[in-house]
C-alpha cells in the first residue's frame, strides 16, 4: 500500500471502523455477560437439586430406619465415592464425626460453598448444604462444584478469543477498506494536481462499479469538461484579440507615424487626429463587443430573464429599420404573429435580431427584398429573416459565427466581424437555435425559440456542443419553414 499508516489513522473510514469495532466489542461483552449469568444460575440450580435429593433420601432413611440406618447409609455412600463427586459429613452435637468423608466442620444450616484442600493437587470447590437433624446431629451434603468452575473458565476463554478475533477482523477490515478508499481518493487528488500543473485534458479514471465514488468522479469529470471548454473559449478570445486587434492598432500607428513625418499644417494635423480618433473608436468598439460576448457567454444575464413580448419587440425593430431599407431602396416586408411571448432579456434579444436584420440589409444590394416572418408551433417559436442578397457559401456558414471572421466578399463593407459572434452568444444564452440556409438566392437565418418543455431538449444539445469546445448552436432537424433548402450548415458542425 502506497499510503502511509498515520494517514490511514486520520481517515474518516478508519474512524468509522474504530467506532464499529468499539460498538461490536461492547455488544459481545453484554452478550457474554448474559450467557455467563444464565449459565451460573443453571449450574447453581442443578447443584442445589443434586444436594437436595441426596439430603431428602438420607432424611427418609432416618425416618424409616432410625439413627443406625442413616449412619449406615452415609458410610455406604462415603465408601462408594471417597473422593466425590458427593461429600458427606454426619457429626453429633459435640462435633464428633459419626460418619463421612470430611473433617469435623460446622457450617450452620443452609447452603454454602467451601473448598477441600488436597495435598499435591488444587483444592476442590464444593457446594454444600447443612441441616440439623431432629436428634441434634449435624448433616452436611456437598457436591463437587468443579464443573461450574470449568464452565466459567471455558466461557471466559471463549469470550476472550472471540473478542480478540473480532477486533482483529474489525481493525484489519477497516484498514483495508479505508486503504482502498484512500487509494481512490489519492487517484482523484493526483488527477487534480496534474490538472493544476496544466494538463487540462486530464480526467479522473472511473472504476465502472457505479458506486457513489464513481458518481462523484463522473460529476467531477463533467465539471472539468465544462471548465476546459470555457477555458478554451477564453483562450480563443485572447487569441482573437491578439491577432485581430493587431491590424487596426498597426493601422493607427501608421497613421500617427505618417502624420509625424508628413503633416505640416494645422489642417493636416487635425485631419490625422480625426482619423486616429475614428480608428480608436473602432478598436474600442471591438473591445466592447468582445467584453459583451464574454459577459453573455458567462451566463450571468440569464438571472434577469423575464417574459418578453417578442411580437412587440419585432415590430419596434421593423419600425426602426424600415426607413433605412427604403433609403437603400430595399423592400422590407414583415409578417408577425401577434402575442408571441418568449423567456429572455429584451435588450439582448433586440440586439440579436437587430444584428441579423442589419446583416441582411448590409450585405444585400440596392433593390433587394428582405423579409421577416414568424411562426408559432406547439414546440417552438420561429423567427426567420431572409434576403435575396449574395448569401453565404455552404462551407462558410459555420465560420461566420467565429469572432472577427469576415467573408472575403464582405471585407470592403464596414464592420468588426463580431456581429454574428454576438448573435451566437445571445442565442446560446437563450437556448435559441440558429440555422443558416440557402434562400435560393440569398440567405435565410432561422431562429428557433423552444417552448419551456422543449428547452431542456435544446439545452442538452447545447451542452453537447459546448463540451466539444464549440459554442455555436445547431439544430438537428430540418427547419420548420423552408422549401428548397440545401443541407444546412449545421450538419457539418
Amino acid at each position: 500500500m502506497s499510503v502511509a499508516l498515520p494517514r490511514i489513522l486520520r481517515t474518516s473510514s478508519f474512524h468509522l471502523t474504530l467506532a464499529y469495532a468499539g460498538l461490536f466489542g461492547a455488544s459481545v461483552l453484554i452478550l457474554f455477560g448474559v450467557i455467563y449469568w444464565a449459565t451460573n444460575i443453571y449450574m447453581a440450580n442443578s447443584l442445589d437439586a443434586a444436594v437436595d435429593s441426596d439430603i431428602t433420601e438420607l432424611e427418609d432413611s432416618l425416618q424409616v430406619g432410625g439413627d443406625a440406618a442413616l449412619t449406615a447409609l452415609v458410610m455406604e455412600r462415603v465408601r462408594q465415592m471417597p473422593y466425590g463427586p458427593m461429600y458427606y459429613l454426619l457429626q453429633d452435637p459435640n462435633g464428633k464425626v459419626v460418619a463421612g468423608s470430611l473433617l469435623p466442620f460446622y457450617g450452620g444450616e443452609g447452603r454454602f460453598d467451601l473448598k477441600i484442600p488436597r495435598s499435591g493437587a488444587p483444592s476442590v470447590p464444593i457446594h454444600s448444604r447443612g441441616i440439623i437433624l431432629n436428634d441434634g446431629k449435624y448433616l452436611m451434603v456437598g457436591v463437587d462444584a468443579l464443573p461450574r468452575r470449568e464452565m466459567h473458565k471455558l466461557i471466559v476463554r471463549v469470550f476472550g478469543w472471540s473478542s480478540a478475533i473480532s477486533l482483529v477482523l474489525a481493525f484489519g477490515g477497516g484498514a483495508l477498506m479505508s486503504g482502498g478508499l484512500l487509494r481512490r481518493i489519492e487517484t482523484i487528488s493526483r488527477a487534480a494536481r496534474d490538472i493544476m500543473a496544466g494538463d487540462f485534458s486530464r480526467r479522473i479514471p472511473v472504476r465502472g462499479t457505479g458506486d457513489e465514488l464513481d458518481h462523484l468522479v463522473a460529476s467531477l469529470n463533467a465539471m472539468l469538461e465544462r471548465n476546459e471548454a470555457a477555458m478554451e473559449s477564453v483562450r480563443q478570445v485572447s487569441n482573437d484579440i491578439a491577432h485581430d486587434l493587431r491590424t487596426p492598432l498597426t493601422r493607427l500607428r501608421q497613421r500617427l507615424d505618417l502624420a509625424q513625418r508628413r503633416a505640416r499644417s494645422v489642417e493636416e494635423w487635425r485631419g490625422a487626429a480625426e482619423g486616429c480618433v475614428s480608428d480608436m473608436d473602432a478598436i474600442l468598439e471591438s473591445f466592447g463587443a468582445l467584453l459583451r460576448i464574454a459577459q453573455i457567454a458567462s451566463g450571468g444575464p440569464a438571472r434577469r430573464f423575464a417574459e418578453v413580448d417578442l411580437s412587440e419587440l419585432l415590430c419596434t425593430l421593423i419600425e426602426v429599420y424600415q426607413p433605412m431599407a427604403e433609403e437603400k431602396e430595399q423592400r422590407f416586408t414583415a409578417d408577425i404573429v401577434p402575442g408571441l411571448v418568449v423567456w429572455g432579456d429584451r435588450e439582448l434579444l433586440a440586439q440579436m435580431i437587430a444584428n441579423v436584420i442589419e446583416n441582411a440589409m448590409k450585405h444585400s444590394p440596392v433593390g433587394a427584398s428582405i423579409g421577416l416572418t414568424t411562426l408559432q408551433s406547439p414546440s417552438a417559436i420561429t423567427v426567420t429573416v431572409m434576403d435575396n442578397g449574395p448569401g453565404i457559401p455552404v462551407a462558410d456558414r459555420g465560420r461566420v459565427f467565429r469572432r472577427f471572421y469576415r467573408l472575403e466578399s464582405s471585407r470592403s463593407t464596414p464592420g468588426s466581424g463580431l456581429g454574428l459572434s454576438l448573435v451566437e452568444a445571445i442565442a446560446a444564452l437563450h437556448r435559441v437555435s440558429i440555422e443558416l440556409t440557402d434562400n435560393g438566392p440569398g440567405l435565410r437565418v432561422t431562429l428557433q425559440f423552444f417552448a419551456p418543455d422543449q428547452q431542456t431538449f435544446a439545452g442538452d444539445r447545447l451542452a453537447k456542443h459546448q463540451t466539444r469546445g464549440e459554442l455555436w448552436v445547431v439544430s438537428d432537424h430540418p427547419p420548420v419553414v423552408s422549401r428548397n433548402t440545401v443541407p444546412t450548415a449545421s450538419s457539418e458542425y
Partner: protein, 225 residues
C-alpha cells in the same frame, strides 16, 4: 451649472472637468467616495457625475446613501462597466443616466445638459413650442404655422423628445434609448434616416429649418439664429 465630479483617475477627471468648464459649467473634483458623499450632501450641486469604481465608498453605494438621505440631485454614472446588468443596477440605485467609458465628449456634454434641464420639465407641460412649431401633448397633434402635420406615433415621440430638449444637443444614443428603448448602438445610420424623415415632414417647405444636425454630436431643435 454647478457640477460635482467624483472620479479617482486623475487624468480622466481633469479631462472631464476641463471639458465641462469650457462648456461654461462650474466643476468641483473629488477623488474618493466618502469625500464625494459629504460634498454631495452639502453644497447644493445641480448634477453629480459619479464613477462607479472609486476607492472607499463605491459609486453605487454612494448614490444609494444619497438617495436614502433624501437628496434628489440628478446623478450621471460614468463607468467602465458597460454590461447591461451594470447599467440596470446603476439606474436602480438611483442614477438618472449612465455613460460607459470610453465616451465621446459631445455625448457627455449632451447628457449633462439634458439632466440639468430635468427639474423644470417635471412641471406638467401640455404644449411645446419652438418658433412656429407647436406640439400638443394632450391631443397628440403637431402644427407648424397653424398647419397640421401628420406624424407616425414614433415620429411624434421623436419630435417630442427633441422639443423637450429644445436648444440642446441630443445624441443618437439618447434618442435610441428614449424614443425606441434600444440600449445598444446599431452600427447603421438608423437614427439619421428617422431624423431625415421627420425633417421632411416638419421642415420641408418652410424657410426656417428647425431640426439641425450638429456634426459629430447629434441633433438639435431650435429656431435658426
Amino acid at each position: 451649472m454647478k457640477i460635482l465630479l467624483i472620479e479617482d483617475d486623475g487624468e480622466t477627471a481633469d479631462y472631464v472637468a476641463n471639458g465641462l468648464r469650457e462648456e461654461g459649467h462650474l466643476v468641483s473634483q473629488v477623488a474618493s467616495g466618502a469625500e464625494g458623499l459629504i460634498c454631495a450632501m452639502g453644497n447644493g450641486f445641480d448634477l453629480l457625475i459619479v464613477d462607479r469604481m472609486i476607492p472607499g465608498l463605491d459609486g453605487l453605494n454612494l448614490v444609494k446613501s444619497l438617495r436614502a438621505a433624501g437628496h434628489l440631485t440628478p446623478v450621471l454614472f460614468l463607468t467602465a462597466l458597460g454590461g447591461v446588468e451594470d447599467r440596470v443596477s446603476g439606474l436602480n440605485a438611483g442614477g438618472d443616466d449612465y455613460l460607459v467609458k470610453p465616451f465621446a465628449f459631445s455625448e457627455l456634454v449632451a447628457r449633462v445638459a439634458a439632466l440639468g434641464r430635468r427639474p423644470h420639465t417635471t412641471v406638467a407641460e401640455t404644449r411645446l413650442h419652438v418658433l412656429d412649431l407647436e406640439l400638443d401633448l394632450l391631443s397628440r397633434t403637431v402644427r407648424r404655422r397653424g398647419e397640421l402635420i401628420e406624424l407616425q406615433p414614433r415620429e411624434f415621440r421623436l419630435l417630442e423628445y427633441l422639443m423637450r430638449h429644445a436648444g440642446q444637443v441630443v445624441t443618437r444614443t439618447m434618442l435610441l434609448e428614449h424614443v425606441w428603448d434600444i440600449h445598444f448602438d446599431p452600427r447603421t445610420n438608423v437614427v439619421e434616416t428617422h431624423i431625415s424623415r421627420l425633417r421632411s415632414k416638419v421642415d420641408k417647405g418652410f424657410e426656417a429649418e428647425l431640426i439641425h444636425t450638429v456634426r459629430g454630436a447629434g441633433y438639435c431643435v431650435r429656431s435658426p439664429t
